[in-house]
Subunit: 218 residues, 2 copies
């Protein structure tokens, strides 16, 4: 999305709205995202309803049904918007999603993983993400939808960066980037999801070092 | 536990039971484990109750309260028992929990990760494990208890095996085994938990290869 933050495309294209209506819509849309994220954090996914989101956002539920077909769709866009806000707050252009390529792969991976640690520890992100991830574990359809729409696009950024490193001769040519990225992304994900051990920048720096250079003596 | 499978230690030690009572207790205990695992798979952790477990197992709920103080405790032991049954079915001594040390670290890790893939794909294990993991994501106390009692002890087996490899000069001496194990364990955990991609023996073999030898050219 651009900085003008247009409303998400409705299922059926409406007549072009009056500017005042656009501003009103944008306020409603933000209130709906906030309500959806707050509700799923507080009561979990199964007890989050369109009615509950509408009541909390102070809009009629028809307003929600006009733009989205299900609570899963509302939450999906609320998360995409949260990610864009976080990118903007970090001074990045949310449209230009890519892992930096300074030529130093280790430094670039350390930087992006440190930023991910900070995001995972942000309370605005943590509670709704946990609630949604928990439901995705048991509701296979929801889980697959959110992996496809939220997780896979971010993993693809690592695939792209690792491919560039392969082209530069910095990663073995026979390595599958889609598996390789899991050596540093999945440990961070598991520590966060299951709280198996603390997160820190030193920890993700170590993951990058081990993954790139291996555990056996060189 | 030994092959005689004694009942778990009750909170207050009872008088030594008559042999017939022991056999009855053992049957009840197995029925309670099965009921707890089935219920948590079907209705999730929050809606699993001691009353529901008792009704399904065909025992009085006082029988459950005599041995366990909470549904979390029942489920914890049901999972420990499931793991022991799986070990026994695989021809292992469940008391002698250790990763084999043939001297070939890569081969030993490949073998144990292949066996883990098989267990994760076993439907008897999958549904209750998912239900419990999902609840652990949002219920921090439950999550920490199950990590401490179920997950950490298995991760410690990898720590021990990696330490032995360090002693044998097969792993860099400066590597922290508790972090190193995550390079192959966490990717498997995340693929299983979040269904991000398929599991296979070829996949875990690849993880071992990448983790041991690193992604950059040697």
């Amino acid at each position: 999305m651009s900085d003008q933050e247009p409303a998400p495309a409705p299922p059926v294209a409406p007549a072009r709205p009056h500017p005042d209506a656009t501003r009103r819509s944008d306020r409603s849309r933000r209130a709906i995202y906030a309500a959806a994220l707050a509700l799923v954090s507080e009561v979990g996914y199964p007890r989050t309803t369109i009615e509950g989101i509408a009541a909390r956002a102070g809009v009629g539920k028809q307003t929600i049904y006009r733009w989205w077909s299900s609570k899963a769709d509302v939450l999906l866009e609320a998360f995409l918007d949260l990610g864009e806000q976080a990118a903007r707050a970090a001074g990045q252009d949310p449209a230009a999603q890519a892992i930096p390529d300074t030529g130093d792969l280790a430094a670039d991976l350390r930087a992006v993983l440190r930023a991910t640690v900070d995001e995972l520890c942000d309370p605005r992100f943590e509670a709704p993400s946990r609630a949604l991830a928990a439901e995705g574990l048991v509701d296979e359809q929801l889980g697959r939808e959110f992996v496809a729409k939220l997780l896979d696009p971010s993993l693809q950024l690592y695939v792209d960066r690792l491919r560039a490193a392969q082209d530069a001769g910095q990663i073995r040519p026979d390595v599958d980037p889609r598996i390789a990225l899991e050596l540093f992304v999945s440990p961070l994900a598991q520590r966060w999801l299951q709280r198996t051990a603390p997160l820190s920048h030193a920890y993700t720096d170590t993951l990058v070092e081990y993954a790139l250079y291996g555990l056996v003596p060189r």
